[in-house]
Symmetry: C2
Subunit: 340 residues, 2 copies
């Protein structure tokens, strides 16, 4: 059975961040599926991408679509909830229950720009603290894609004994300028939107009317999620049936698609969270805190699976291949030589 | 010698556009380099890209940089002004002297949205009319890249006897959704900027303070001009020296680059022209008006040179290869068979 449950844990101990700043107190909201066994070791952790949430599978009453990985998580599915206890947490900095820039500080105001910059490593550290509280000291696997894959890799380096298997998809060893550039367009579009009010917007107003700056940024994001060829296959040069070809605002189908996804997005995602999480993605770098990337990767003890997509424009396969070839090279070097 | 000259020709006859609309009267501003021979046939036409102008070579007093193709055009250069008379016109719809959306209608007001949608074919038609007036009935070559390449190809199809050689670079047979999507982000960012005032902005104010919507759109454009790999080579993960890694607004070099190019652009380009010219690029399709693309290409008589760049993300080499293979296939078919 799926056994979908939502929880929020409150932490009063300070969370020491990579930046040297402190987050205190903080909440982590998470979903669980399946049943935890007595040894508390039948755990699979799934980690979400930029705009994801803890809601990875199943449906709540009134929902018209299930969680973002419902195709993979459930009874008899690839991540089998009949066998495993699956945990999906909302990352700190996000806007779906875990502490983020629009959460209240101790004084009762929203943090907004007072919220500290968090990193992917910080997100992972907070999850590890949650798991400790739940008495979970090891997992069967950690699985995630894009920023979820970055979390999985940070887990593998900083908590090497935690997960037996790690599956990182569509991720990288460090975010490259192509991805940073797409994030830049989105950040700039948000910051320049007068409705954003330099960060002092009314979240209810934004949720109601949408923030066109964030919609525009999201359109750029949607370009980066597809490739030249996949867009060609998906849309071709199809034009909206009711629009005239020579009308200035007549639209191709691809334009309608971007508009729909862009403007819809602004109704359910918080702009300050978007700024903070894209920042976390931009400064993500597995090698930080180590002398070299090699040294960082040498910490890994988990069974590591790296999956890239040849059509992925944001995190191209070569970036994962770099991790793979470094691991292979160092395993050759560190092998004890047979005595002769 | 370069013999740089600027001219503007005024036309009172109506220009019949592809859309069925009429532009009347209209101006075409153009530059010439070199000297026209007595037969008026030592002509090379260069055609500009989206944000280009007629100013392709040389410098005017007070300029700190030369025209956009100064490296190619001049005495002894690839396009040798000692031998050829080079003409570079500003396309209609643009904002550097030829009639565009901010030009005045007969009533003395700016067209703004009353300006008709123009196509790349219309741009070419207007140029052909200019050349007729100048007594120039044939050219040695037409050369252009990106939208300039589209113009060169339209010339080859619609005025097949005009140019002996045609060199189209970084262009396509029809604009694909990937390029349309980038234009969409830019268009949307312009339209949603309150300073744009729904098209009724004061051009002097815009030129002075810039239009952040257009800057954001231009940033998206700059992403499309580079590829994942070239960005990696150009910027890597270099961070601005004075910015802190954990400052929310701390910047990578690639971000500074996009900001500079984006905001600088808004000081010299008109937003309505941007909307109209990106529209022309979006609806560019060599096959329109013919039963098939094959039929369109069968009109070509010029010596055609197609040049693509393997790193070009907007107009990928496969698009030019399609033209090439269609031309090769049809030339095989139309060859008279030897009688046996």
């Amino acid at each position: 059975m799926l056994n979908l449950q939502t929880h929020t844990e409150h932490f009063t101990n300070p969370l020491y961040l990579e930046s040297g700043r402190i987050l205190e107190p903080y909440d982590i909201t998470y979903e669980t599926y399946g049943v935890l066994n007595d040894d508390k070791d039948n755990v699979i952790v799934v980690t979400h991408a930029l705009t994801g949430s803890h809601h990875a599978a199943g449906m709540y009453e009134g929902d018209n679509k299930p969680g973002w990985w419902d195709g993979l998580i459930g009874p008899g599915k690839a991540i089998d909830t009949d066998e495993y206890y699956v945990i999906s947490t909302n990352v700190i900095g996000s806007c779906f229950g875990s502490t983020g820039p629009m959460s209240q500080t101790k004084s009762g105001e929203a943090y907004r720009y007072k919220f500290p910059v968090v990193t992917v490593k910080d997100m992972v550290k907070a999850q590890r603290i949650l798991f400790e509280r739940l008495g979970i000291h090891r997992a069967h696997a950690i699985v995630g894609g894009s920023m979820g894959g970055m979390q999985a890799l940070q887990f593998a380096i900083h908590f090497p004994r935690f997960a037996k298997k790690t599956i990182a998809m569509a991720a990288t060893y460090a975010t490259q300028p192509w991805a940073i550039a797409f994030n830049k367009v989105a950040q700039e579009a948000i910051l320049r939107d007068p409705e954003f009010q330099q960060g002092y917007y009314d979240p209810d107003v934004i949720a109601e009317s949408g923030l066109s700056g964030m919609a525009i940024g999201r359109m750029a994001g949607h370009i980066s999620f597809l490739s030249h060829d996949s867009m060609q296959r998906k849309f071709g040069r199809e034009y909206k049936r009711d629009d005239g070809l020579y009308e200035l605002f007549g639209k191709f189908q691809v334009e309608t698609y971007l508009e729909y996804n862009g403007y819809n997005f602004t109704k359910w995602f918080d702009p300050l969270s978007y700024l903070y999480i894209t920042k976390a993605i931009n400064i993500y770098d597995l090698g930080r805190g180590f002398d070299t990337l090699d040294e960082a990767l040498s910490k890994i003890q988990t069974q590591l699976h790296l999956i890239s997509f040849s059509s992925d424009m944001l995190f191209v396969p070569d970036e994962m291949k770099k991790i793979d070839s470094m691991l292979k090279a160092s395993s050759r070097v560190s092998k004890p030589r047979p005595r002769s």
